[in-house]
């Protein structure tokens, strides 16, 4: 199979956590600025300037937060499983570190999706919580995330924890569609659709452009959180290596005299 040379080189470089740490550093402020800009514009536009929905009034505006959060909650789990496969097949340490970073971020987005959905449910359905198929499967997704986090916390050796979480994530990701369809089916069996999510069939651009901005912004926010988490994880895992020690020493060089440096080096 033909793989373009730059891609191949990137793949090999990803094997080095140090390369990732050093390369991702300059990206962080730009990502942060872009995410902040997009989310601010999208949210202000969506909450203040987009017209109210003809059916749901102002309560529909929560989609500007809810939709990106819900979509990233699911995408995050799949991404974690992909990292798990990379870790188990290629033994790439960086994949494990990314997986470690995704779990809490994904769980937070899942919680955000549940919370915003429940707040939207109060004016729309008259109650904060109903056992709707979609809500239930997102709740189960939250449990799956918590399981991954719990397993990683419970196993002391990071290498073993990473591979255990990889297996759990892969088993979970195969189960997610099954859970989703079975829950949908359970709903149709138990309750004929009493509530249906009524959305305007075609949104005018003034309503969907801010949504698009927020989806992009949330994507960048997710990427930023994962990259920052991964960078921290790189430093923690590689703390015994020379380059991390050098990095730490650089940070405190201002008050460390040359003599001490030379003593350390010996």
């Amino acid at each position: 199979m033909y793989i373009p040379e730059p891609l191949r080189r990137l793949w090999h470089r990803l094997g080095s956590p140090r390369w990732f740490y050093e390369t991702s550093g300059p990206w962080v402020p730009w990502l942060g600025a872009a995410a902040a800009l997009l989310i601010t514009v999208g949210t202000v536009w969506g909450l203040a300037f987009a017209p109210p929905d003809y059916l749901q009034g102002d309560s529909f505006r929560i989609i500007y937060i809810h939709v990106p959060a819900a979509y990233l909650a699911q995408a995050g789990y799949v991404l974690m499983a992909v990292c798990g496969v990379v870790l188990l097949v290629w033994r790439m340490k960086l994949a494990d570190m990314v997986m470690t970073a995704i779990a809490p971020v994904g769980a937070a987005f899942t919680f955000l999706a549940l919370a915003t959905g429940s707040i939207w449910g109060k004016p729309t359905w008259g109650t904060y919580w109903i056992w709707d198929a979609r809500i239930t499967s997102v709740l189960i997704l939250l449990f799956l995330y918590l399981g991954i986090i719990g397993l990683r916390r419970a196993i002391e050796r990071p290498e073993a924890a990473g591979r255990a979480c990889a297996i759990l994530a892969i088993v979970g990701v195969i189960n997610i569609p099954i859970i989703k369809y079975s829950v949908d089916w359970w709903m149709t069996l138990h309750q004929p659709a009493t509530f249906s999510i009524t959305e305007a069939p075609a949104m005018p651009p003034i309503m969907w452009v801010p949504l698009l901005l927020n989806v992009l912004g949330f994507n960048l926010l997710f990427a930023l959180s994962v990259i920052q988490g991964t960078r921290t994880e790189v430093l923690v895992r590689e703390r015994r290596t020379r380059w991390v020690n050098d990095l730490c020493r650089e940070g405190s060089m201002t008050y460390t005299g040359d003599t001490e440096m030379s003593l350390d080096r010996q």
Binding site: A164, L168, V171
Partner: protein, 240 residues
């Protein structure tokens, strides 16, 4: 049949995969049957949970009849979960798990044998208890067979999925609660399909749909999940 099966006694030249599988199955069943108390615990738990329902909710026969499929399934789920803790623990404590992992033959077969043995002493008795407990919960007679068939097809899935969790947490001190968090969300589809089969039958409809789905799930789980358990065991042995 009386001769003790130790690994050293296997005739080495003929040591085929079938011998490996059969030996493991026989050993696990023998070990399980020698500890009848441990064997009875999940079953007793199952019965006690079922007993609590009329006390806690309502002893009215009509109310119980409506809840019976769900209650039986949830109790079966919890009883399975309770049995999972012991699945690999003893083997790990006496070191035979390490031997199992270190063996040159694929880990798939001994794992499959172990899961089968475990199902024979947990899932199967649960299934066989349904006529009795279903009667006590006023389960409609039409729902009895779909309920039993559902449990017979669903409990292997539960045992196998649970086996992944048990293998991942085998070396951990705080395994129990974590195990519940890991595997219960994965049990959701089985619960839904099993309950709906019984409910469909109770309302006079054909329960074949969910039962066929359960059968499909069981065949898939039987084929694929032992690989995950084997991989998890290798990690679990290392992690401990």
């Amino acid at each position: 049949m009386n001769r003790a099966v130790g690994r050293s006694e296997l005739p080495v030249p003929e040591a085929s995969l079938w011998v490996l599988f059969r030996g493991q199955l026989r050993r696990d069943l023998k070990l399980a049957l020698r500890q009848p108390a441990e064997l009875a615990n999940p079953l007793a738990f199952f019965v006690v949970v079922i007993t609590l329902i009329p006390l806690g909710v309502s002893p009215e026969p009509e109310v119980l009849a409506g809840m019976a499929p769900g209650v039986l399934w949830i109790a079966a789920l919890l009883a399975t979960l309770l049995g999972l803790e012991a699945l690999f623990r003893r083997d790990r404590d006496d070191g035979s798990l390490e031997q199992m992992v270190l063996r040159a033959e694929p880990l798939y077969l001994p794992v499959l044998a172990r899961m089968m043995a475990h199902w024979l002493v947990t899932g199967l008795p649960l299934t066989l208890l349904v006529p009795l407990l279903g009667g006590m919960l006023n389960l409609p007679p039409e729902a009895r067979w779909p309920m039993m068939l559902g449990l017979a097809l669903g409990t292997p899935i539960l045992v196998l999925l649970g086996g992944v969790g048990a293998a991942l947490t085998v070396g951990l001190r705080t395994g129990g609660v974590l195990l519940a968090l890991l595997v219960l969300p994965l049990f959701v589809p089985v619960l839904i399909l099993g309950v709906s089969a019984a409910e469909l039958a109770a309302s006079g409809l054909d329960p074949a749909g969910p039962l066929l789905w359960l059968a499909a799930g069981a065949s898939f789980a039987l084929t694929a999940v032992p690989f995950a358990i084997a991989a998890a065991l290798r990690i679990g042995v290392e992690a401990g």
